[in-house]
């Protein structure tokens, strides 16, 4: 009885989670223009999607910014984590608290505070405009704390005598560092990079306040979806995103499982 009850509950939550998005995707195949009435199967919205140059451009910007920002945040964050690791307890907690501010604060506050900085420094002092550079800087800002939060625990687990042993065996400190410390903390660096990348891909609010004329996928969706004209183009887009996400997650899961089984046997 108890088992059935919890099974039913889990099913209920999943239905709630999936029903809206699946209905939304289903209507991407609608031949008609209405979201209420399915008048027949068609791929016209997909055709429209792939001809939408502005959308494809926004998608390209999103990928480029996410990649560039997460790589830079990974370098900056890993270095910062190495330094923070060696701080005294009290200073460490102060530095970490300031560092986490951009992700603990409401996103809209981080967004507007950066907008004020850029409006003042970039536009008044350097006569530059909002655009690629401001969005990139903003993304590095909110990505770096995630990298630090992923690298720090790995540093805590690291056995320092390994690094000392490498030096005793004749390694220069620099080489010893790259041969012992980096491989040990690499999983944390990678996890931080992935987290930064995904948050960057999906960010809307902070981008919205720093983008100027630059469109990323989320800002493009925001300015075009559901405002006035009925279009099922975005239903088609969400179907494609759904497919990409699902295959990526299933794929990474399969790799993860294989790796585990290799380690086991």
């Amino acid at each position: 009885m108890k088992k059935h009850l919890s099974g039913a509950y889990v099913a209920f939550v999943f239905i709630l989670l999936y029903l809206p998005i699946l209905v939304f995707i289903f209507f991407s195949f609608n031949a008609g223009t209405s979201g209420g009435k399915f008048t027949g199967f068609s791929l016209r919205w997909y055709e429209m999607l792939f001809q939408d140059r502005a959308l494809l451009g926004a998608f390209f910007n999103t990928l480029l910014i996410a990649l560039a920002a997460s790589v830079m945040a990974t370098v900056l964050g890993t270095m910062a984590a190495l330094g923070i690791f060696n701080l005294k307890r009290k200073t460490k907690s102060i530095v970490l608290n300031v560092s986490n501010l951009p992700i603990l604060n409401p996103e809209i506050v981080t967004g507007i505070s950066l907008m004020l900085l850029f409006a003042f420094v970039f536009i008044k002092v350097f006569h530059l405009n909002f655009g690629f550079v401001t969005v990139l800087l903003a993304h590095i800002l909110f990505n770096t704390p995630y990298v630090i939060l992923n690298v720090l625990p790995k540093l805590r687990q690291f056995n320092m005598s390994l690094y000392e042993a490498a030096q005793d065996l004749g390694c220069k400190p620099r080489r010893a560092f790259f041969r012992t410390v980096i491989p040990e903390i690499a999983p944390g660096i990678f996890a931080g990079f992935l987290m930064a990348f995904t948050f960057s891909l999906d960010d809307f609010i902070i981008t919205f306040f720093t983008n100027g004329d630059l469109e990323t996928l989320p800002t493009y969706i925001y300015t075009h979806i559901g405002k006035g004209k009925t279009t099922l183009e975005f239903n088609a887009l969400s179907a494609i995103l759904f497919l990409i996400v699902m295959s990526l997650l299933v794929f990474s899961n399969l790799i993860g499982r294989n790796k585990n089984s290799v380690e086991k046997y």
Binding site: L17, N105, P106, V109, L141, A176, F209, I225, G226, V245
Partner: protein, 267 residues
């Protein structure tokens, strides 16, 4: 390896991109458009007081619903077979990785006057309901979008609870309820606190959900229009600063319930 030097670039970075921007927010809060000192901007906080209360109230309701839904779910999940756990986590993550605005629109799509729910009601002979552009729709949108943020931290903490503690509790004669109250609940508090923070903060400050699902503006929308449409940095900064302080205070109060201070603050 023992050096603190690698921190230097990040310290400079933090000063420029964390501290100085917040300094700008404070500066604009206490000045008028001519740049002279004033408290006048705070009268707008009074003007929008009901909007603050409204946003915080809806966010609170959504946070509570998320908690009530996620807690039993995390318990079921953490006690199921390892393979089932991975599978279910995957199913939770997939919708989360689809763009936020698209997900909000999917909700609006389902709730619309001639959306699928009202279609079903009419087919069954009922009268169509006013679902979209209501408080109900806003709370539903919040729950739908932020539910994983509540579930993940609670589940992470619960998965780490030593299973022998449950057995020990049972051996000592504790029933299911007592085990929940005396073992599971205290050990899962850090996860619950992280979850509440991760749902409440974005829900209270959202500038997206009300536009698609609500009938009136939330404080996030007001801040957005003040900056973007009215281009009034002074009033916008004041409204943001007050929102930030309210949320910070709420979080400090929350963290008092967390005895384990090293506990997972965020993630």
């Amino acid at each position: 390896m023992r050096s603190r030097q690698p921190l230097i670039p990040y310290l400079i970075w933090m000063v420029i991109f964390v501290i100085v921007p917040l300094g700008f927010v404070v500066y604009y809060t206490f000045t008028n458009e001519n740049g002279s000192f004033t408290f006048e901007n705070f009268q707008y906080v009074g003007k929008y007081a009901s909007t603050y209360v409204y946003s915080l109230r809806l966010a609170l309701v959504a946070t509570l619903i998320c908690l009530l839904m996620a807690y039993p779910f995390a318990m079921i999940l953490s006690r199921s077979h390892a393979k089932v756990q991975t599978m279910m986590m995957l199913l939770i993550m997939i919708p989360m990785w689809i763009n936020f605005i698209i997900r909000i629109n999917a909700i609006a799509f389902v709730l619309e006057e001639n959306g699928i729910i009202n279609k079903a009601i009419t087919v069954l002979g009922g009268k169509p309901l006013k679902l979209i552009h209501t408080d109900f729709a806003v709370v539903l949108g919040m729950v739908y979008n932020y539910f994983p943020f509540m579930l993940l931290p609670i589940y992470t903490v619960m998965a780490k609870i030593d299973k022998s503690l449950y057995e020990a509790s049972a051996d000592l004669g504790g029933n299911g309820w007592q085990t929940l109250r005396r073992v599971t609940l205290p050990l899962s508090i850090p996860g619950v606190i992280t979850g509440i923070t991760m749902v409440f903060v974005p829900a209270a400050s959202t500038n997206i959900i009300a536009g698609y699902l609500g009938h009136t503006k939330m404080i996030g929308d007001i801040i957005e229009t003040t900056f973007k449409t009215e281009v009034n940095y002074n009033v916008g900064s004041t409204l943001s600063l007050v929102l930030m302080l309210i949320i910070l205070i709420a979080m400090v109060v929350m963290n008092h319930f967390d005895q384990d201070k090293d506990g997972a603050m965020l993630l």
